[in-house]
């Protein structure tokens, strides 16, 4: 889909302690030393982080909450509660979204569609994830002593919020809604490998449909494939992997320093691509350090139940094309 007038006017990002210690640590609008964000539970903490990100966005854009026509957002928690509870404190029409870690790209895509079509004057797109609430929901209790395989990823504690309006320094020009894809991967620890075919499918389809190629972009960014997933995507597309000098890169590999930080294959989660897009790529576009980029948000549509039932992991990748104005 092509958008006539959809712009990312402003962004805000909030991240956790580990993300602050990473290579992009200084770029986030706010980082919290306290993983609880002053709340009593991990679920409330994620919700508070999401609320802070949206409020910070409004403050940065000098807007009142009533100036927003719709809030689109989601997270990884059951029934999308982090964003739903954050929206409880914001008197704005709200659409809760879920596409696992592709939610940031999904919310940008839908926000751009609503604004470009004139159904909304200003939309806020948001996504969040919290390491502790995700561990609790998808894996083990935090204090449980276990070793994770070296190809597993670390859920990013972070929230990103984007103001989509009819003017701004970054234009969302095109987008592609991904198809659910699976290639037989069942191991929930190896989500990069599960998601890489979805990213490859969406990117290939986009290049075919638009007659473009990776050469036309300063950056082709995937959401959270991590080290293994990025290497597999490169093989599937016949490209050089992330960090090998080409224009492909992955938010999950950018947000942490894998040599220095104990994050195994890199970052994951809705907050991963949301934070990196808001704090890093949007700024680069705004300063015209890059002119044109693709963000392919990748999501693994699994639940702890489907994993226990040994089902394959269906994955999705939604793509957004952004240009410096």
């Amino acid at each position: 889909m092509c958008f006539e007038r959809a712009y990312i006017a402003q962004c805000a990002s909030v991240a956790g302690k580990l993300e602050k210690q990473g290579p992009l640590g200084g770029l986030f609008d706010m980082t919290a030393e306290d993983s609880y964000f002053g709340m009593d539970s991990w679920e409330q903490a994620e919700s508070e982080m999401s609320r802070i990100a949206v409020n910070m966005l409004l403050k940065k854009a000098s807007l009142d909450v009533n100036d927003i026509d719709v809030l689109l957002g989601g997270d990884l928690l059951n029934q999308c509660t982090a964003t739903g509870f954050a929206a409880n404190s914001l008197p704005v029409p709200f659409l809760g979204l879920y596409n696992a870690c592709a939610t940031a790209a999904e919310s940008l895509l839908l926000g751009a569609a609503l604004v470009s079509a004139g159904y909304a004057g200003r939309a806020v797109a948001a996504a969040s994830s919290h390491f502790c609430s995700s561990e609790r929901q998808f894996r083990f209790p935090l204090e449980y002593g276990s070793q994770r395989p070296p190809f597993s990823q670390n859920t990013v504690t972070g929230a990103g919020a984007f103001l989509i309006g009819q003017s701004g320094p970054v234009r969302i020009t095109r987008a592609l809604i991904g198809k659910v894809t699976e290639k037989g991967i069942k191991d929930a620890n190896n989500m990069g490998a599960a998601m890489a075919p979805a990213a490859a499918d969406t990117l290939k389809n986009f290049f075919e449909l638009t007659g473009t190629s990776p050469r036309d972009y300063d950056a082709v960014v995937t959401g959270d494939l991590g080290y293994e997933g990025s290497a597999l995507l490169a093989e599937l597309l016949g490209r050089e992997p992330c960090g090998a000098g080409g224009n492909f890169c992955d938010c999950g590999l950018l947000i942490y320093d894998r040599e220095r930080q104990d994050v195994h294959a890199g970052g994951s989660g809705c907050g991963c691509s949301a934070c990196v897009m808001a704090a890093y790529f949007w700024e680069k576009l705004r300063r015209k350090e890059i002119k044109r980029m693709l963000l392919a948000g990748t999501g693994a549509l699994l639940s702890p139940r489907t994993v226990m039932q040994k089902q394959v992991i269906p994955c999705i990748a939604h793509l957004v094309e952004a240009e410096a104005v």
Binding site: L142, S146, Q147, P150
Partner: protein
């Protein structure tokens, strides 16, 4: 690329766990826990406990220590390095019970802690009990047969 070929490729690209390092840490830390247990046994015996009581006191002490370390946030950090060395001894069982209990406290004593406490250790308790019952039946049959 079909599913089988892709699964094979993905498996080839998986970074392997450093087995030698993991085994070494597990051996050393597991051995240290066992040595500590033996030390405690000798201590309790020296204090006048009978052998059976001394062994029970060792278990109780190790379970308490692991639970305390879990609560203080040390256990998971140590287990990340030590792996099976802390997972296999009775300390691992203690951690598997205390860690979900700590996390479930936000949901209250009954719906939270009470229902979540055996989330990880539950299968061990269930199948451990079934195995002990089966063993008992077999042993009973053996005793009857042996006269």
């Amino acid at each position: 690329m079909d599913k089988n070929a892709y699964s094979k490729l993905a498996a080839e690209r998986e970074k392997r766990s450093p087995s030698l390092k993991d085994c070494t840490f597990a051996f050393l830390s597991g051995g240290a826990v066992c040595a500590l247990g033996q030390l405690l046994k000798e201590l309790f015996s020296a204090l006048g406990a009978e052998t059976g009581t001394a062994f029970s006191l060792v278990s109780v002490t190790l379970v308490f220590a692991a639970g305390l370390c879990t609560g203080l946030g040390f256990y998971d950090k140590a287990a990340r390095v030590c792996g099976a060395g802390l997972f296999v001894p009775i300390t691992g069982f203690s951690n598997a019970v205390t860690s979900p209990a700590i996390e479930a406290r936000c949901e209250g004593a009954v719906t939270g802690v009470g229902s979540e406490i055996f989330k990880i250790a539950g299968p061990v308790i269930v199948y451990g009990n079934i195995a002990s019952v089966l063993y008992g039946v077999i042993y009973y049959i053996y005793l009857c047969a042996a006269g």
